[in-house]
């Protein structure tokens, strides 16, 4: 039996170190998700115009990231997470289109966009002066509507680069396209947004 003891010790030590690594990884994942979740929610909400749907999309993206990519390097998590989220948003739009066709078949209107309550979805006050808060909310509403109205790829590029702060390479990885495409979509998005927001008076940024 004496020969077995060291073997057991080595085996136990190996399991303990794997367990510690898993715990450390989970803690890292927890920190990453906690850091990214609020911005991800707002990005998803702007894309689908519904907070509950956006919460579901973010939760699904979290689950998929944890299940499939927990063992990847933490540097890879941001583009992977946003790739999963953007795929989820694209699928959501496709499902909505199919759902609308199915509802029309049943003789029901599928106009979910009409139900979007911009007041209910607006953020709570955060201790700023009421005038400033109102001004910011109006500007954000205008920006949000303009971003939502962009073509899907331009919207993705703009939100990932501007709101999430991903660099061109990570944005390309998240969008599944070349860096050149990211630059084109991003530049077109900015020009389109500026044109639209400047056209509609002082509510948007840059006015």
């Amino acid at each position: 039996m004496s020969a077995g003891a060291p073997e057991f010790a080595v085996s136990w030590s190996g399991e303990a170190s794997t367990g510690a690594r898993a715990l450390g990884n989970e803690e890292q994942l927890n920190r990453f998700l906690a850091d990214v979740e609020r911005r991800a929610l707002r990005i998803a909400e702007i894309a689908v115009r519904d907070r509950d749907e956006a919460l579901d999309l973010v939760q699904n993206a979290m689950i998929k990231l944890v299940r499939k990519y927990a063992d990847r390097s933490s540097d890879e998590w941001p583009p992977l997470f946003y790739r999963i989220l953007q795929n989820g948003i694209r699928d959501w739009h496709r499902r909505q289109a199919v759902r609308k066709r199915v509802m029309v078949w049943f003789g029901r209107s599928g106009g979910d966009d009409d139900d979007y309550d911009i007041v209910a979805a607006a953020p709570d006050p955060a201790g700023r002066a009421p005038e400033q808060e109102l001004e910011n909310e109006q500007a954000m509403d205008s920006l949000e509507q303009a971003v939502h109205a962009l073509p899907a790829r331009q919207r993705e590029a703009f939100m990932l680069r501007t709101f999430e702060g991903l660099d061109v390479a990570d944005t390309a990885a998240a969008m599944g396209c070349s860096e050149g495409s990211v630059k084109t979509h991003y530049s077109r998005a900015i020009h389109s947004l500026r044109e639209k927001l400047e056209e509609h008076g002082p509510a948007g940024p840059g006015n």
Binding site: R38, M62, D91, F106, P123, I190
Partner: protein
């Protein structure tokens, strides 16, 4: 090429966005927190209970789609032009919610018929 006024626009847009993130209400933050913990807990569960129902739901939705492609709708609407994309979505994991909606509307149609 981005010019200086584009940079200014981007900075202001980012500031507005960050402001809206900071202003998220407590209930939403709590939901996000729960979602994160659920995701971390789900790491070990490779086969959630929901997936057990997917084959049954898939068959039910496939039958429904087949009827809709062949038959005109109950309200005189043409047969549904279901493409490959539609089938993929309707037979997917997320079609359960849609099936529940359809069951509800089918039930509503029956109620309307009964009342009328």
């Amino acid at each position: 090429m981005m010019d200086r006024s584009d940079d200014k626009f981007v900075k202001e847009a980012k500031a507005l966005f960050d402001d809206s993130v900071d202003g998220l209400d407590a209930a939403t933050l709590s939901t996000l927190n729960r979602s994160r913990h659920r995701a971390l807990e789900a790491a070990g569960n490779r086969h959630p209970a929901l997936l057990r129902w997917v084959p049954v739901t898939g068959v039910a939705v496939a039958a429904l789609v087949a009827v809709m492609v062949i038959e005109p709708g109950p309200n005189g609407v043409d047969a549904l032009p279901a493409g490959v994309d539609d089938m993929e979505i309707l037979l997917g994991e997320d079609s359960i919610e849609m099936l529940e909606d359809l069951e509800f509307y089918a039930w509503m149609e029956l109620q309307d018929g009964d009342v009328g």
